[in-house]
Structure formats: structure tokens, C-alpha cells
């Protein structure tokens, strides 16, 4: 007959360690940022007043949003196109199966990861400082941000392609460039388009807030209205942004679905 084995001991050090870390980290963080439910509750009346001030949105302000809103879209388009093109070589060199050699691969991969660590607004601040306030700084910032998004995702899908075609091109005497162009990129094209659209969605969203640091677009108006506590206008701007983002996402998503 079978004998019931004893219940295996739990890994108490790991369990307690994890629990302790979670609780400790949360307590330390909550303390560090001054998290307090009482403060939140005490401030709720103030919040209510803010909401009353923010509502209804100032619809008369809407026409003045047109020009900065279009600027936002222009910035997103430029950022996606420039970043999308520059991302191609970076992604190819970061794909283990296509890269030129271990040193190039290692350098490119680290370059890519470092690009990814900095948030979009950091790039915007730096470019705004370098080339001056305005949409050019925003477009440059989004170009870098786009490179980071697309190259990471696309290099991973390039690593998963069928190597038969590229090897055939190489065997037929093709150069490395021809191998990439005719053997690899056609297979990765659908993914590329899909990631580029995804990056465009992110860029539209990001370009709404670039203006907060002076990098052009609708965010610059948002910043001035916010600084003047014109919350009815702030609400108007945010509502417009929300609708635009949702519409663009819907369009982009339907294109992506059709591609898949």
C-alpha cells in the first residue's frame, strides 16, 4: 500500500523574506512619500472644490486648441518616421541571428537598453535645452523615444524569423546587406508595421505632455493654463486630448488587426 509522505516543509526563509521585503518596502515607501489616508480624506473637500472649478469644461476655449493640437500631431508624425527609420539598423544589429559580430551586437544591445531607461520627457527637456523651446525639440525627443520602443520589440521578432531565406541569399553569394534586405526584412515587415503603429500611438500620447517642459504641442497651452489655475480650460484640454488619443488608438488598432 501507499504510505502518505509527510507534507513537505515550506521554504520559510524565502516566504518570510519575500513577505518581509514587500511589507518593508511598502512601509518605507509610504513613509518616504508621506502617504497618508487622513491627509487624503482631509483634502477631499478641496478636491471637490477643484472638481467644481474644473466643470463644466470651457468649450469656448476649444477653437484656440486647434493649432497646438495639430502641432502635437506633426511632432508625433515626425518622431515616428525619423525614429522608425533609425530603429531599423539598430534592431537588425541587436538581433543575435543577423548581427555583424559579438562586439557590434553587445554594443548595440547596450545602447538600446540605455536609450530605453530614460523617459520621454527627459529627452524632451534635454532637446529643449539644446535647440530651444518649441516643436523641433519635441520631434527630436520623440525620435529617440521611438527608436527605443521599436528597436527593442522588433529585434526580438527578428530573432524569431526563419533563417532559411537569409542563408539562401548568403549562399547565393549575396552580401550581408542583401541578406538583410531580401532575406530578413520581408519576414519581419508585418511586425515592423505593427510596432511602428504602436509607437505612433505612444507618441501621440507623449506629445500631449511634451509641452509641459517646453517641447511644443498642446502641452504648452496646458502648462500655461495650469499655472494660472484655469482649471475649466485644463479640463477642456484634457478632454480633447482624451478623445483624440482614443480615436487615434482605435484607428491604429484596427489597422494593426487587419495586418495580423
Amino acid at each position: 500500500m501507499n504510505v502518505a509522505p509527510p507534507r513537505p516543509a515550506r521554504n520559510w526563509p524565502l516566504l518570510l523574506g519575500t513577505l518581509g521585503f514587500l511589507v518593508g518596502m511598502t512601509w518605507w515607501s509610504g513613509h518616504g512619500i508621506g502617504f497618508s489616508l487622513t491627509e487624503l480624506l482631509c483634502n477631499l473637500p478641496g478636491g471637490q472644490r477643484l472638481l467644481q472649478e474644473s466643470w463644466p469644461p470651457d468649450f469656448a476655449f476649444l477653437p484656440r486648441l486647434y493649432a497646438p493640437f495639430m502641432e502635437t500631431i506633426y511632432i508625433a508624425i515626425i518622431g515616428t518616421v525619423v525614429g522608425g527609420i533609425l530603429a531599423i539598423p539598430i534592431a537588425v544589429l541587436a538581433a543575435r541571428n543577423l548581427t555583424l559580430g559579438p562586439i557590434v551586437w553587445f554594443a548595440d544591445r547596450n545602447f538600446m537598453n540605455i536609450l530605453r531607461t530614460l523617459p520621454d520627457l527627459f529627452w524632451a527637456m534635454m532637446f529643449a535645452t539644446a535647440v530651444g523651446f518649441g516643436p523641433v525639440a519635441g520631434a527630436l525627443a520623440l525620435s529617440v523615444f521611438t527608436i527605443a520602443v521599436i528597436s527593442k520589440l522588433w529585434s526580438e521578432s527578428l530573432e524569431a524569423i526563419d533563417m532559411g531565406m537569409p542563408e539562401a541569399v548568403r549562399a547565393a553569394g549575396g552580401t550581408w546587406l542583401q541578406m538583410i534586405q531580401f532575406g530578413a526584412i520581408p519576414q519581419g515587415l508585418q511586425h515592423y508595421v505593427s510596432y511602428a503603429l504602436y509607437a505612433f500611438e505612444l507618441n501621440v500620447r507623449a506629445s500631449m505632455v511634451l509641452g509641459l517642459v517646453g517641447a511644443g504641442g498642446i502641452g504648452m497651452i496646458l502648462e500655461t493654463q495650469r499655472a494660472n489655475f484655469e482649471y475649466e480650460r485644463v479640463t477642456m484640454i484634457i478632454l480633447a486630448v482624451l478623445v483624440a488619443v482614443l480615436v487615434i488608438e482605435q484607428i491604429s488598432e484596427s489597422i494593426r488587426k487587419r495586418l495580423a
Binding site: M1, N2, V3, A4, P5, R7, P8
Partner: protein, 265 residues
């Protein structure tokens, strides 16, 4: 063991699915406590409908099902849960939570027996753990108690499924095609387990089977269904090839039996 006897009675019971399919038609049937009943019929004949009506997973369109004289409630809620507590079910695809240990899976059979908060926080009384362990003992896989269900073979997983049903200390066990996903050797082991449990514990057992030879070999009483209607009800010892032909509406082929030599045997 449970004092409830485990009798089942269908009275003019019918099930029509929303898409118009007839799952059960004017069924009148009585099953006595402790019987081992095998239900046969081609696919779509209403075997599952019959089993799932007994624990209220399928609702009746008309007529009634009673378990030990109590009508099976036709809506979700406490009463239905109380009834299901006494009816264990075994599934073709085992329906285990693969990421949980075997023990946790068997304890699922005790959920209705302990206070909700205890179950919620995984604080099982020692008694319930014991019942679960006994259930595992009965199907002979105690040594796997602390292994994740995903690591077991198909036959072992079905044993856990049986143990989960046994942990309910049920009056009735419903087994819906319990061996359809298993290889022939394991199939016989599982069928033997079911028969043994029925004998040892006197639990009324209803088993849906597709294979005729298995039905004949293991059934006490055989019920044949065709298009939701009862077309055969008799002892397994007396069932003939003729009867099977009636049930299936055609000559049976080697697809209908597990071992080819068993045809006519």
C-alpha cells in the same frame, strides 16, 4: 458514511437547449441507492444531459429530478449548493487546477463542508484534511499528495478527480465519460476503481460510457439513450448485441469498442 441513500428519480423530465436541440425527452427513470449504472448511447444522445441534470448543471425545461425525494433546485443558490455537496462529479477532462498540488485539488471537494472564511484563507480543519487524505488512499496515490497536478499522467489525474469527488463524502457519483481521454490499460484501472468504490462505500454511481464492451463488462444496470429518449433499461448480464443495435440505431463497429476481440464477447 453518509446517511443519505442516493436514490434518483426522473419524472416526465425534458431538456430543450436554447438552440432547439432536445437533450432529454419525457424521461421517467428511477435509480436505487447503491446501484452502479452505465449509460450508453452515441454522442449527442443525451448522456451528459442526464448526468448534469442530477446536480443542476443543466436545467430542466419541464418535469422534475429528485435526489432522495428532494427536487433538484432549478436556480443557483444555497439550496442547489447543499444538494451538490452530496453529489460528486468526475469529468472526461479531469478539470483539475494544474498549478495546485494534488492535496489542494482534493480539498476542493471539501469546500462545501467548511465555513466559507476558512476555505477562503486556506485554513482547513484537520478533519477535512484527513478526509482528503483518505480519499487519496482509496485511489492509491497518496505518495503524490504534495505534487503539482500538472506533473501527473492522465490516469493519475483522473484518480485525483475521483478522490476530489470522494472527498465530498457523496451519496452519488456522476462520472461523465471518465475514461474517454485515457489509454486502454488506464481505462480498465479507472473503471475497476469506480466499481470497487461503489462496492466498498455503497455510493450510487452513474457512468457515461461510449464503449460498449466496457459497459457490458463493468455495468450492473445499463441504460440506453437515443435522441434524449430512454430506449433500453436492463441488467448488463442480459444485454444483447441486438439491444446495442437499437440504442445506436446502426450496427456497431470497432470504433464502439475498446478491445476489438470484445465484440460480441
Amino acid at each position: 458514511m453518509n446517511k443519505n441513500q442516493g436514490s434518483i428519480r426522473f419524472t416526465d423530465a425534458s431538456v430543450v437547449y436554447p438552440n432547439g436541440t432536445v437533450g432529454m425527452k419525457d424521461l421517467n427513470l428511477e435509480i436505487r441507492p447503491g446501484e452502479f449504472v452505465v449509460i450508453v448511447g452515441s454522442s449527442g444522445a443525451g448522456k451528459s444531459t442526464l448526468l448534469r441534470a442530477i446536480n443542476g448543471l443543466n436545467r430542466m425545461t419541464s418535469g422534475t429530478v429528485e435526489v432522495d425525494g428532494t427536487k433538484v433546485p432549478q436556480k443557483d443558490g444555497r439550496e442547489l449548493r447543499v444538494l451538490r455537496k452530496r453529489v460528486g462529479m468526475i469529468f472526461q477532462d479531469f478539470r483539475l487546477v494544474k498549478r495546485l498540488t494534488v492535496m489542494s485539488n482534493v480539498l476542493i471537494g471539501r469546500l462545501a463542508h467548511v465555513p466559507g472564511w476558512r476555505a477562503m484563507f486556506n485554513l482547513w480543519p484537520a478533519h477535512d484534511r484527513e478526509v482528503a487524505m483518505k480519499a487519496l488512499e482509496r485511489v492509491g496515490i497518496t505518495e503524490k499528495a504534495w505534487v503539482k497536478a500538472a506533473q501527473l499522467s492522465g490516469g493519475q489525474q483522473q484518480r485525483v478527480g475521483i478522490a476530489r469527488a470522494l472527498a465530498q463524502e457523496p451519496a452519488i457519483i456522476l462520472a461523465d465519460e471518465p475514461v474517454a481521454s485515457l489509454d486502454p490499460v488506464t481505462t480498465h484501472q479507472i473503471m475497476k476503481d469506480l466499481v470497487r468504490i461503489n462496492r466498498e462505500l455503497g455510493i450510487t454511481t452513474l457512468v457515461n460510457l461510449h464503449f460498449l464492451d466496457l459497459a457490458k463488462q463493468y455495468g450492473q444496470r445499463i441504460i440506453g439513450l437515443r435522441f434524449g429518449e430512454l430506449v433500453y433499461d436492463g441488467s448488463a448480464a442480459n444485454v444483447t448485441d441486438e439491444d446495442f443495435r437499437d440504442i445506436y440505431g446502426r450496427d456497431f463497429t470497432e470504433d464502439d469498442v475498446l478491445d476489438e476481440d470484445a465484440v460480441g464477447g
